[in-house]
């Protein structure tokens, strides 16, 4: 197990370097970041030269990348154009997005898995058909439509919530945005769990457990569900990274100042340092989440062993 983890961690290094290099190149293709800084006029050449020097943009690209990576390993992610440290931006943005992601994942697990188990156990019954239909609707409606609709209904019409989230972004305020963010994944989790449960219901170990005379809830939770969760865990694990980076739409609708907001603003303003920094951290989150998922397999299914 230990050796497996070490091997996986080592594998992350080339993936990490490759991913950051790609991002670095792509962001640089967007064009000269100084051009958009002076409003409707060109910055005067002297100031441009000075700014380029300050941000290291006067060096060749490979050198910029090396300097950047060197700095990253010492914890310095550079400075955004508004004079703030990127790490400072991260310190404000990531906690918000992590809270939002947690709310979303909780929704996926609680509602998604429950619905999946219920429908999987009652395949073909009316409850199954109606949930399936509902998930189809959720999957096919784009997130921004769900988001704007809920915002208008709950925020403006019924006044149950505030349409926008305050800068503190407390957990309570993130429930509706979290639900919106989770909606599509939630539908997938339901469907995955349903199929998996329905398949495993007919397997030998379930029949054995039933024959042993175990109570039904024990059969379902301990034996059936535990084994059926493997594909679901895989999905949720990879979804964490997607949720964190993909919250741009949801964060915009509800005015949440998280990672999506910083990325959006960074891209609009050609702020290389912000974009590369945030995406680098997202890449790390993705890699770690994947590793954790793989380790969880062994916990869920005793037949899986890592050496």
């Amino acid at each position: 197990m230990g050796r497996y983890v070490v091997r996986r961690l080592l594998q992350m290094i080339p993936v990490f370097i490759g991913a950051t290099l790609l991002i670095f190149l792509m962001v640089n293709v967007m064009g000269d970041p100084i051009a958009g800084l002076c409003g409707e006029r060109a910055c005067d050449p002297a100031t441009t030269a000075q700014l380029e020097k300050e941000f290291g943009l006067d060096k060749p690209l490979w050198q910029q990348y090396l300097t950047y990576m060197g700095n990253v390993f010492t914890g310095d992610f550079g400075t955004a154009f508004n004079g703030q440290q990127v790490t400072e931006l991260m310190a404000t943005a990531f906690p918000v997005t992590i809270r939002l992601t947690i709310v979303a994942v909780l929704f996926e697990i609680v509602i998604g898995v429950t619905l999946g188990v219920v429908t999987g156990m009652r395949r073909g019954r009316p409850v199954d058909t109606s949930v399936l239909l509902a998930t189809l609707v959720v999957i096919s409606v784009p997130t921004f439509v769900t988001g704007l609709l809920l915002q208008l209904l709950l925020g403006v019409q019924w006044k149950w919530i505030k349409p926008s989230v305050s800068p503190d972004a407390a957990l309570g305020e993130l429930i509706v945005p979290g639900l919106v963010l989770a909606s599509v994944s939630l539908a997938y989790v339901t469907r995955l769990t349903r199929t998996s449960i329905a398949e495993n219901k007919r397997s030998d170990y379930v029949r054995t457990a039933v024959a042993k005379g175990l109570p039904r809830h024990r059969v379902v939770t301990r034996h059936l569900l535990r084994n059926s969760l493997i594909p679901v865990i895989t999905f949720i694990g990879t979804d964490i990274g997607a949720l964190m980076g993909g919250a741009i739409v949801t964060e915009r609708i509800f005015n949440i100042h998280g990672v999506g907001y910083q990325l959006y603003q960074g891209i609009l303003r050609h702020n290389t340092q912000t974009v590369v920094g945030f995406v680098t951290v997202l890449v790390l989150v993705f890699l770690v989440a994947n590793l954790l998922v793989d380790l969880l397999y062994a916990v869920l299914d005793p037949r899986i062993r890592y050496a």
């Binding site: 409003g39 000075q50 305050s166 005015n255």
Partner: protein, 544 residues
């Protein structure tokens, strides 16, 4: 605040801030019923640059500076006229050497006195190349600017030789050319005085800016919220009529509007284009829509020979006449923009140089003459007009498509004009800067100060800072120089108008429409107005 910013900030999309006081998110501040201590929440966008006066060139940062700073002059929020504010007098005999006397009794909100040095040091800081101030060129008229901010290489001086402190409340300014309008430019934020702490503890100042305006910054969370409170000891006549303002950053002005509808925000000063149709039924007379010093034009790439050859002015005039401004401003902008008939803005007033109809028939929709003129001028270079614009903000795509439709219909050629969208504003500026455009491009101009000079010189003077198309005309340059040297303001204005006629005859840029500022507010507020810079006049707003 020249510039694009206009499109980005004033017109359209960027981030808008919200303040969630209504139900509580705002930080404190009682809602006294009309007693002048109520705090209002207002939408905001994250300022693009650090909030230094000489480094802020867009409306969102300008909003804050307008609340926490007062300069030598202040522009009247209704007429735009420059009035002496901290200046007791600004005298000159030759339009080149000025003596500035600063009023006694003004202090910064930390108690420090505002003296002649507060101005001179601030201007030297703003002009100095090493401070990377993006508005440095505003000091370009002052003698010695080429030493502290050379076009290339290292600076050979730290301070402007044209600035001299005479005594505590007097300083002199020597310009490197005659410029009679100079005193009237001094209301621009870049010319604000700065306290010592700005230099001694710059980081602390940026975290919590200290100024001399009617409001003081109570707390500032960068990227999300700023709490401004009324400064009780403010010595000026324009004291705040409310207890303070909470500025909250909105990523999307649609969310700000939704919050306003939900009673969660008091003032949204950028109504999204998509809501213009229902804003009157939603808000009634709590929706304001007043002219701002913003004009939209189509500029041309004169570095491309095809657009710069003799006769091309006929093509440009023809294109101008092919645009049905009336219809587009009505259908797309719901009359929040007004068809342009000159190259300035109505907010200048006729005395300030605005002249309705100066453009004459060249700005009237006349498809038959348009077609004829384009033909006489040798046809459209390359057979097709490609209008370049940035597609990341609100409604540029819509109006560019409408303009192209209008041109195509007038010329009877369905391929005469197409839009050429660029993904982001930054990339758009990038392409303009690299001079690689081969057709007209969107150009918006938001005035820095309400002078006709500001609508002409930066845009059309040879090699001027915002002359992106590199238009150059000796007659125009000559007239601008003459106008700047005029000591009589009325004569200066009429000379500038003569220069503007050169722009018209050569159709250097096609004027499209004047833009209005818009805002909506909650029932708690009264006395809400926008100044000519489309910024709410916060200090006059009454809460409750």
């Amino acid at each position: 605040m020249g510039g694009v910013t206009h499109a980005r900030w004033a017109a359209g999309a960027v981030v808008v801030a919200l303040a969630a006081t209504g139900c509580g998110g705002g930080s404190g501040g009682g809602y006294g019923g009309g007693s002048g201590d109520g705090v209002l929440s207002s939408s905001w966008g994250d300022p693009q640059n650090p909030l230094e006066p000489a480094n802020t060139n867009e409306v969102q940062g300008g909003k804050v500076l307008d609340m926490i700073f007062r300069g030598l002059k202040k522009y009247d929020p209704r007429t735009g006229k420059a009035q002496d504010w901290l200046a007791r007098s600004i005298d000159t005999k030759d339009s080149q050497n000025f003596t500035v006397r600063v009023k006694d009794g003004w202090t910064f909100s930390n108690g420090e006195k505002v003296t002649a040095r507060s101005f001179v040091d601030a201007w030297n800081y703003g002009a100095s190349l090493r401070n990377n101030q993006k508005n440095a060129y505003f000091f370009g008229y002052i003698d010695g600017y080429d030493k502290v901010h050379p076009a290339g290489g290292a600076q050979s001086a730290d301070t402007l030789s044209g600035l001299k402190v005479v005594d505590d409340h007097t300083f002199t300014v020597r310009l490197n050319q005659k410029f009679s309008g100079f005193p009237d430019t001094l209301g621009y934020a870049a010319f604000a005085p700065l306290p010592r702490i700005f230099y001694t503890d710059h980081a602390a100042w940026l975290k919590r800016p200290v100024g001399n305006g009617p409001y003081a910054v109570e707390s500032y969370t960068r990227g999300s919220q700023m709490n401004l409170r009324k400064w009780d000891a403010y010595p000026g006549a324009d004291k705040a009529q409310n207890g303070g303002v909470t500025l909250k950053v909105y990523t999307d002005n649609n969310t700000a509007y939704t919050d306003l509808m939900a009673g969660n925000l008091d003032l949204a000063d950028d109504i999204p284009a998509a809501q213009l149709k229902n804003v009157r039924s939603d808000l009634g007379d709590r929706y304001i829509n007043t002219p701002a010093g913003i004009i939209q034009t189509l500029a041309f790439p004169y570095y491309d020979k095809a657009w710069n050859k003799p006769g091309a002015e006929k093509v440009r005039t023809g294109l101008s006449m092919a645009i049905n401004r009336e219809q587009i401003t009505e259908r797309i902008f719901d009359r929040t923009r007004t068809p342009a008939t000159d190259w300035t803005s109505p907010v200048l007033g006729t005395a300030g140089g605005f002249k309705a109809g100066l453009c004459g028939p060249a700005c009237q929709y006349d498809p038959a003459r348009a077609k004829k003129l384009v033909k006489e001028g040798g046809g459209i270079p390359g057979g097709q007009v490609r209008i370049t614009y940035n597609a990341d903000t609100g409604s540029h795509r819509e109006w560019v498509d409408a303009v192209c439709n209008s041109i195509n219909n007038a010329l009877g050629d369905s391929r005469a004009c197409v839009g050429n969208p660029v993904g982001t504003f930054a990339d758009y500026r990038n392409r303009i800067g690299q001079h690689e455009l081969r057709g007209p491009f969107r150009a918006g101009w938001q005035m820095d100060y309400p002078l006709i000079q500001n609508f002409l010189q930066p845009l059309y003077y040879t090699n001027a800072s915002s002359n992106d198309g590199k238009w150059s005309d000796p007659d125009f340059d000559d007239l601008v120089d003459q106008a700047n040297a005029q000591t009589d303001p009325a004569k200066a204005v009429s000379t500038f108008q003569k220069a503007e006629e050169v722009v018209r005859d050569k159709m250097a840029a096609i004027p499209l429409w004047y833009q209005n500022g818009s805002a909506g507010y909650s029932e708690r507020l009264s006395h809400v107005a926008l100044n000519p810079f489309s910024v709410p006049v916060y200090n006059e707003i009454k809460v409750g």
